[in-house]
């Protein structure tokens, strides 16, 4: 399936959840992280939701800034 993650088209195979995607980004600790899927916020409790073909996902986190 083809998914857009943070503005980049990505090919994914198999069953991928939000949680596994976060782990791929090195984010097993999800504090300070927010996820949007198709412009909808994903609560932490929903991180085991499957990603579907055509989903647009934004993963953001807090970094240093003024």
């Amino acid at each position: 399936m083809i998914v857009v993650v943070n503005g980049e088209r990505t090919v994914m195979n198999g069953e991928v959840t939000i949680r596994s995607l976060l782990t791929d980004f090195g984010l097993s600790d999800t504090s300070g992280v927010a996820v949007e899927c198709n412009d909808e916020f994903i609560e932490q409790e929903q991180y085991d939701r499957m990603i579907r073909d055509g989903d647009t996902i934004e993963i953001v986190r807090f970094v240093g800034g003024g």
Binding site: F41, I59, V60, R61, V63, G66
Partner: protein
């Protein structure tokens, strides 16, 4: 050579608990807010946070990438004691700012946001129109909005009218360390405000911060002047003391300036070399 050491009472250099800094019904002792960008190391950030005594820190929100995978800003902050204040830095218009604010609310678990809309990267000056538009939307959606603005007294009034929790006028553009270039307008904003006024951006030295507090600002925000100092944690101490000094001076009410000199010592009974002693010494 031995010096005689004078014994002095230890100065009380903590913020005053009977002079709380209140934002949106939340009370703080410290009147200094610090940013977390541009530090040379996470240790420097953590130590500066401690020495500055800041109880509120800003953070930015960015897409996760290989570039920021190693960012450990959040680990450097004890969020059980320090209020995280997400900013909407990078937003070029109200739509981007509102989107960032909502993401920040989801990531932080609370609804405080520092609203920054800066379409021009060369100047990083805040867009008044887009800031106002975003503030209207965010206040209606229940956010506690702390808007970053140019030192425009009319804009400051409008933002208060629509329910912003503070106003944050700049002293000079972000990162310039130029101090209170907008001093006169900041003074007007302070006089007219019925929400806390936090001078944010351009403060380059503890004396600038002290000056802002002496003028009656409720708080100051500092990032570049700390992060790019030779010794950030030591500079944090300096800023902490400067903010407390300025606040106390404001409460103590500064004496007036005058063009004419006026002596501080008595103006009579002077010792003179030219006393008129004739008559007395002739005896």
């Amino acid at each position: 050579m031995n010096h005689t050491e004078a014994t002095l009472p230890a100065p009380n250099i903590t913020g005053a608990e009977d002079d709380p800094f209140i934002i949106a019904d939340t009370s703080f002792v410290s009147r200094i807010i610090i940013g977390t960008g541009k530090y040379p190391s996470y240790d420097a950030l953590r130590d500066t946070l401690a020495t500055s005594g800041a109880q509120i820190v800003t953070v930015a929100l960015r897409r996760v990438s290989i570039g920021n995978a190693e960012d450990r800003t959040l680990e450097s902050i004890d969020t059980s004691r320090i209020r995280l204040l997400p900013n909407t830095s990078g937003a070029r218009d109200a739509t981007e700012a509102v989107r960032l604010a909502k993401m920040a609310r989801a990531a932080a678990g609370h609804n405080w946001v520092k609203l920054e809309v800066t379409p021009d990267p060369a100047t990083l000056l805040p867009d008044p129109v887009e800031t106002f538009r975003a503030a209207e939307i965010l206040v209606k959606d229940g956010f506690v909005v702390l808007p970053y603005i140019n030192a425009d007294p009319i804009l400051a009034l409008r933002l208060q009218e629509i329910g912003c929790a503070t106003v944050m006028p700049l002293g000079a553009p972000i990162g310039t360390n130029k101090g209170l270039r907008t001093r006169d307008q900041i003074q007007i904003i302070i006089e007219q405000a019925n929400v806390p006024v936090i001078v944010d951006a351009g403060i380059g030295s503890p004396s600038h911060a002290c000056e802002a507090m002496e003028m009656g600002a409720d708080g100051v925000m500092i990032n570049t002047a700390l992060a790019t100092a030779g010794d950030p944690p030591l500079m944090g101490e300096a800023f902490r003391m400067a903010v407390i000094a300025g606040r106390r001076a404001f409460i103590a009410k500064l004496g007036r300036q005058s063009d004419a000199a006026s002596a501080s010592s008595p103006e009579t009974d002077h010792v003179r070399s030219s006393d008129n002693l004739t008559g007395f010494l002739d005896d």
